[in-house]
Subunit: 324 residues, 2 copies
Amino acid sequence: MLRVYMPGDWSDEALRGLKAGLEEDVELSAGAPRPDDYEMLVCGRPDREMLEAPSLRWYVVPWAGLPASTRELLADFPHLAVHNLHHNAPAAAELAVGLLLAAAKRIVLADRKMRECDWTIRYSPENAMLIGGSSILVVGMGEIGRRVARTCRAMGAEVVGMARHVEAGEVREGIPVLPPEDLDGQLPGIDVLVLCVPLTEETRGMIDARRLAAMPRRAVLVNVGRGGLVEEEALYEVLRDGRIGAAGIDVWYSYPRSEGSRRNTRPSRFPFGELDNVVMSPHRGGAMNVSELELLRARKLAGLINAAAGGGQVPHRVDPELGY
Amino acid sequence: MLRVYMPGDWSDEALRGLKAGLEEDVELSAGAPRPDDYEMLVCGRPDREMLEAPSLRWYVVPWAGLPASTRELLADFPHLAVHNLHHNAPAAAELAVGLLLAAAKRIVLADRKMRECDWTIRYSPENAMLIGGSSILVVGMGEIGRRVARTCRAMGAEVVGMARHVEAGEVREGIPVLPPEDLDGQLPGIDVLVLCVPLTEETRGMIDARRLAAMPRRAVLVNVGRGGLVEEEALYEVLRDGRIGAAGIDVWYSYPRSEGSRRNTRPSRFPFGELDNVVMSPHRGGAMNVSELELLRARKLAGLINAAAGGGQVPHRVDPELGY
């Protein structure tokens, strides 16, 4: 018998979907109150008490990534196997491609002008980059990055990936994958940079003022990883000054801390909202808002729980020290 | 010797690119004045005099499609071989995918809200459709449609094409292609409808009120063909009433008639600009604004001219009666 505890808000639909997928030897407790003991905890931001359950063995973050506060807390529980879920990779990859095309082709600006009956963008030069034939670097070749790479290649782009553990000359699904040391060499020649990596000590601030300056003036930057990958002030300045072409940004520097602040939280200290060459997205990569995705998550979670219950290999193990 | 006349505005860059690609036995006259005679005319909207050159044999529209006024005029010149260019297929296909993702994921609305520091769309249900696993019908499997189909398939969608001349059970590049008679049967089951067909007597108004009503409420419509494919009032009404999910529209019902009216031409009799579930684009599929595309056009045009000069088969023949 595997006892699983899931605090937090799960829709009835998602819970029904999850329960329908579970083997008989799984006992699931959702919401309050917290049971005294369980082998598995499914929760994005657990408190210390939840992690102190005597039989706890598996701790599961029900999305991709590992919050920094949780990571710190986990340092005191080294015996736990930490896992996460990647059910949202298709949604995040699609959003990345959507932000790329919206930024590269000024779709948002053109829409705003058309609502004012202004067609001039139709006739103005140099406001739409062609993806076909362009050079695209996808940093992070996990489930999201691989999907982005595949889609861009279908549009005729020359795509190169970048990943942490690479063999010399490695090719994945037909896409050459380079190690992080090659980043500086790549930047001057790329048209598009897509960031799909988690935020870790290694990746924080990886795209700084120097690297932004190394990109061509036409280049488009897409960030669906975490805000902290790109230096905030440097990003604002290169966009404001037109030193890169455009950006599609889903991940930010400050977030609403409560339900009441969802309508009045500035995503940055800098006024990105005044710029025409940025497409702003409210961290939707995880796509909490797609109901089919909740069901997908339930299905993936059921698979993970069943694997633990059956003694099989539990997928998506995370190293809390590395953060991914 | 092949004499080619190209009236109209060509950038110096495009002309240089074109001339560099031409064989030696081609004599090119661009702009005014009109020469007395030539074998080939390259011009989107010729006047009668241009078509009356005594040796004229090939008439080339330097983009995809054939304007209705030109089509009428050509009825008096049945001896001419009419051709057009498809250099803009990659740009048009990319715009179609960009409009699809922007509409399906409310990228434009989310951007507008974020500029007001409003993150609520992040937390609201049912405002982002997943392309992966969705059913997409691409009407028109020419160079644009095939590219759209390929890109959507790379995102994991189930894509079906529709084309005029199809064999039973036909599959092109792995995508099943159905005849137009199957349209009504397909509509109730699709998530996305992408229109990539030219406007002809057969296709005018093909998506009317009845067919819009047959689509699911979540469905997304993308039109990069011509405005007249979709009934104007019916489209406005289903979007206003939320009877379809969203639309990405690049082609319209009225256009600026002069340079002076580019800032004040309403694209429709109906106020599409008041709707949040439409992405409005100022007929950019042809992407006259991409300078690399001008060079691509010059290259394609050089190939076509050289084929005529060398006595080979001239590509992209158009039937002026059918209009494509």
